[in-house]
Amino acid sequence: QQQVKQSPQSLIVQKGGIPIINCAYENTAFDYFPWYQQFPGKGPALLIAIRPDVSEKKEGRFTISFNKSAKQFSLHIMDSQPGDSATYFCAAGKGSGTYKYIFGTGTRLKVLA
């Protein structure tokens, strides 16, 4: 119930392609769903986030789609570039008093030039 399942583990796309990374959760108490981008040797950086009252959110080339009934959410990267090559983590947060996140296991994305 506390897990966030992320897939695929790795992904290779051509420049301009639209990689899609999926995450699924069980616990309906989660109320905030961020995505993080991590480059080698760096900490994860917040990319985009969504709350369950919204089905889609776009920020630049990044879009989150959220399906509350299916308990799934996904990240789409439009017009992907080689600079987008990184590891992406989804997360789900919940808590009263102390708020905590459960992270997916990450997706390593490579965008070929």
């Binding site: 905030y32 961020p34 102390t98 996140y101």
Partner: protein, 112 residues
Amino acid sequence: SQTIHQWPATLVQPVGSPLSLECTVEGTSNPNLYWYRQAAGRGLQLLFYSVGIGQISSEVPQNLSASRPQDRQFILSSKKLLLSDSGFYLCAWSRGGNQPQHFGDGTRLSIL
């Protein structure tokens, strides 16, 4: 704007030696603070979190401890390191509630 600093960036320690990793946050007050460990090919495992000075909660039993001596300072420690303590340690802060966490650039700890 808020910034988070972690140091050192890399550390090589012998088994049985002590450890002290430091994390500080600037530009905000009374943040929630978190220590995570990231293993290769796995997600982030929450180790400790703190909602205020001197208030530490541990998520998993282990060889590590955490302290928060000042509002924006979070320290990860060990008295005697084990080989299994190797990993990438990340500090994060948030404003609490369903607000995003922001991470430092981590410490790569290698135990020999």
